[in-house]
Amino acid sequence: MSLSSEMLLLAQRTTMYPSSEQHAADAPYWFAETASSFAPTVDRVFYVIFWVSTVFFLIIVAAMVYLCIKYRRRPGVTSQPSPSHNTPLELFWSIVPSILLVWFFYEGAKGYFEMRIPRDDAEEIHVIAKKWNWQFIYPNGDTTSELHLVIDKPVKLIMESEDILHSLFISAFRQKMDVVPGRYTYLYIEPTKRGVFRLSCTEYCGDNHSDMVTWAHVHLSEAERHAETKWDPWDEKNRPWQSGERLVRIHCSGCHNIDGKRNIGPALNDIWGKEESVYNAAGQRRTITVDENYVRESILQPDVWIVEGFESPSKMQSFEGRLSNDDIRFLIAYLKYLKDPAKYDVELKDWMKEHGEGVDSEGVVAPANGPEPAGGATDDTNNSANQDQNSGETTSDSAGGDPVIE
């Protein structure tokens, strides 16, 4: 997409969403809107430090100004004797700030744990960052270029980079994490406010770093999200875990069973999330959890950490260069599926029963009133923008209301 059309898109977005045109009226002075569960905590800690710092700073400046006026040089007046040190005083002004610093540290660390420990039921959305756009892949395999979330539904973004370092930052959520090539990082969010929020790359990534900006939409309901993203009709055969299952049959089933019995390698059906003791060629031992990063490493570099009970060097060959990043993502999805099939094996009709009356059998919402905007943007952008223009005013007032039904 050319720069000018990006700018046009940006201009369009900002006029359509008052929240990002200027500082929101209900936002604290120092911050963007408060739209995630831990944003209030961050703001509170920020303001605690802000006011304590302000008081200290004013004392310092007031003392400085007072002393400079009172003791300014005057003819015939020399400096007066006074003690050149005072240990109790110096200890006092070393120790009192120290106590405050311990408090800041404690509050900051406590808030940080909240931001880093995802709830077990968090929806997992896969993020692929590359120069210079974002791709968001949902559990059903659907993909969008803007992030779509549902209010109060916790989400864990599992992020990978196709090229270099990026960093995902959503100011309204006060949350940020680098996206690092060659490994997965994760970012946890609990959105608490309906709206559209700026999502930017904050790790410098070359020429068009400043254009790597997109939007995070928070919807009132699953059905609204489904409608606004115009997701593809539910494909029963092409969910990520199903692709993973095919890959396992081709590449892995010779050595790995899925019936719980050990073969040449460990069984795969209950391996996800398990704590394992592992060792390496140097004889170091540690305990790991089988997570995205460990699975990735085991596929690409099977010899680095070997599960206790299996011999070194590993009999497994490296799949470096033979399995793509996408393949590995599918395999991970399959391992997660095997651990808890019920969670993933949802039929479309059941999903509809649970979530949406406004969704027809193909999963597409009935067209909303109003003209289709002109081209120049992605489908999902136009659609959601259009939806908001038509129904945003009324729905944002009635919490829990479903714009799709209108």
Binding site: M7, L101, F104, G111, Y112, I164, L165, S171, D178, D211
Partner: protein, 568 residues
């Protein structure tokens, strides 16, 4: 010799030869081993680097006047080169060598009562390495440019086609320049103090330079190795940082910040040392809590080695590591706060001259105060997650690096200028320049705190219209700041040629460098300096005939007021 003759000899007008007139011709400067001339050459060099990088900064600020970058018409890629060169030249070619190599070279041996540094040839070599290193940075500019940011983060620095190899090689050479200066100062302070000058009779500027030298020697080699590995990765593909070959890009960040965080203290510690001298001399007051300030310099130097991970809270390093690094980072705040409180207490019951050096020193306390306190937001984990890599960070480190180091450098230059060139600057215009720097600086960087916290990421060539007003204030401020810097230099340069001539000790300072003529002779001291209390201003009295302060021992007995003892 009679006392009066010694008095004239020591403090009178220097019609005799000095280090500037000692020998003439280009080679007498280019091949000089005199620490004073090397200091002056460094000063010219780092000032040129600063003005060049300052021009880049103004280009950056002008570009950001409007949110779509249409004002300058620079492409995103060209903008990226501008901020990279601004950062790389400012950090490696200006701030790191500024106070130690320029002011320190001139002042350190004289404060010790020594004739020169311990290794004069190494000193000259250090200067030429600076010239070559900076040259390589400029060659990078001509060879496709540099667009990695001054941090050279992998893997982008491996794949971008610009002059990364030249620039990193330049920074590598500059690292050696810095190490040589550090070795020189360390040995000089250890071995060449005048007889009678114990460690606790040293002016605090020397303590801070000593602490700086320790960091320069211990941390800079890590940068050297890291940059060589980066060059090897680019040219040979050794696979240490490049994930394509199984390398770890985050490892580069660890190596880089293991140097570059301590380097932050290489930048600020000498500035703190300068401020300790300025406040004491121009308030004519013994520095309060000498040993607390001295040890806080050493404490900052040592703790500075343990906190590099706080640059990487969002890099994907483990949660536990982040918590540990956050905790250690807070400990660095204490020694910095102690210094500020001590400076303020020094003013108490002083006789405060609000001349140019003092104005810069007071600006320093104000700006460094903000710089230090905003560091607390970045040491605190959950607020840092939000603020990391936004303009808040940009504002924070400019308050420390520019509000701190640059202000201290100017204060120091005005303070020692009469000693360096034997002439006094125009104090009124000096104070105007200080006011412009102070006002321009605050206007430039204060709005950046707000926009950063509201979500403006750093290193953006174009941005959301929401931030336009903040950027415009900031740009106006940058030009005011630029004007202040140019005026300060103009006042200083004018003084070299047309300033009022001064004698040995115009301020009534008590450290040894003021016991020489101004400018000093080639050998620094005509007579062995009297080693006394570096903050004992009551021992110095003004002599009207000489228009200089003279030590009580040499003063005309008829005019000397009674000595007022100082409480301890």
């Amino acid at each position: 010799m009679a006392t009066a003759e010694i008095r004239n000899e020591l403090f009178g007008h220097a019609d005799k030869q000095n280090y500037l007139t000692h020998s003439r011709g280009f080679l007498s400067w280019a091949l000089t081993l005199d620490h004073k001339r090397i200091g002056i050459m460094y000063l010219v060099g780092v000032s040129a680097a600063m003005l060049l990088a300052g021009v880049f900064a103004l280009v950056v600020r002008t570009h950001l006047w409007v949110n779509d970058g249409s004002l300058t018409g620079l492409s995103n890629a060209a903008y990226n080169q501008m901020f990279t060169l601004h950062g790389a030249i400012m950090v490696f070619a200006f701030i790191i060598p500024s106070i130690p190599a320029a002011l320190g070279n001139f002042v350190l041996p004289m404060m010790l009562g020594a004739k020169d540094v311990a290794f004069p040839r190494l000193n000259l070599l250090s200067f030429y390495l600076w010239v070559f290193g900076t040259g390589f940075l400029l060659i990078a500019l001509l060879n496709g440019g540099l667009d990695t940011g001054w941090t050279f983060y992998t893997p982008y620095s491996i794949e971008t086609s610009s002059g990364v190899v030249y620039a990193t090689f330049g920074a590598f050479i500059l690292g050696f320049s810095s190490i040589f200066t550090g070795v020189n100062f360390l040995v000089t302070v250890n071995t060449m103090r005048a007889r009678g000058m114990g460690w606790f009779k040293m002016p605090l500027f020397l303590w801070s330079l000593y602490a700086t030298a320790i960091i320069q020697i211990l941390a800079t080699p890590v940068l050297g190795i890291t940059l060589l590995l980066l060059i090897a990765e680019r040219t040979l593909g050794v696979g240490i940082f490049d994930p394509v070959y199984g390398g770890d890009p985050v490892l580069f960040q660890h190596f880089f910040w293991f140097y570059s965080h301590p380097a932050v203290y290489i930048m600020i510690l000498p500035g703190m040392g300068v401020i300790s001298e300025l406040i004491a001399v121009h308030a004519q007051k013994r520095i309060f809590g000498y040993s607390f300030i001295a040890f806080s310099s050493v404490a900052i130097a040592l703790l500075g080695f343990l906190v590099w991970g706080h640059h990487m809270f969002t890099s994907g390093q483990s949660t536990v590591m982040n918590v540990i690094f956050s905790a250690i980072t807070f400990t660095v705040a204490i020694p910095s706060a102690v210094k500020v409180f001590n400076w303020l207490s020094t003013l108490y019951k002083g006789s405060i001259a609000l001349n140019t050096p003092m104005c810069f020193a007071l600006s320093f306390i104000f700006l460094f105060g903000i710089g230090g306190l905003t560091g607390l937001f970045l040491a605190t984990l959950n607020t840092d997650i939000h603020l990391h890599d936004t303009y808040f960070v940009v504002a924070h480190f400019h308050f420390v690096m520019v509000g701190g180091t640059l202000t201290a450098l100017f204060g120091g230059l005005f303070h020692w200028w009469p000693k360096m060139f034997g002439r006094m600057y125009n104090d009124f215009l000096g104070r105007i320049s200080c006011l412009l720097v102070f006002a321009g600086f605050n206007l430039t960087f204060f709005p950046q705190f707000v926009m950063g916290s509201r979500g403006m990421p750093r290193r953006y060539a174009t941005y959301d219209p929401e931030f336009i007003p903040f950027h415009q204030w900031s740009t106006i401020g940058a030009f005011v700041l630029g004007l202040g810097v140019v005026l300060a230099y103009a006042v200083l340069v004018y003084a070299i040629f047309y300033g009022r001539k001064v004698t040995g000790n115009p301020y009534g300072a008590a450290s040894l460098e003021w016991q020489s003529s101004s400018p000093p002779s080639f050998h620094n001291f005509e007579h062995k300096p009297v080693v006394d209390d570096p903050y004992g201003y009551e021992d110095w009295v003004y002599d009207e005939q000489l228009d200089s302060y003279v030590h009580r021992e040499f003063a005309d007995p008829g005019t000397v007021p009674e000595r007022v003892p100082v409480a301890h």
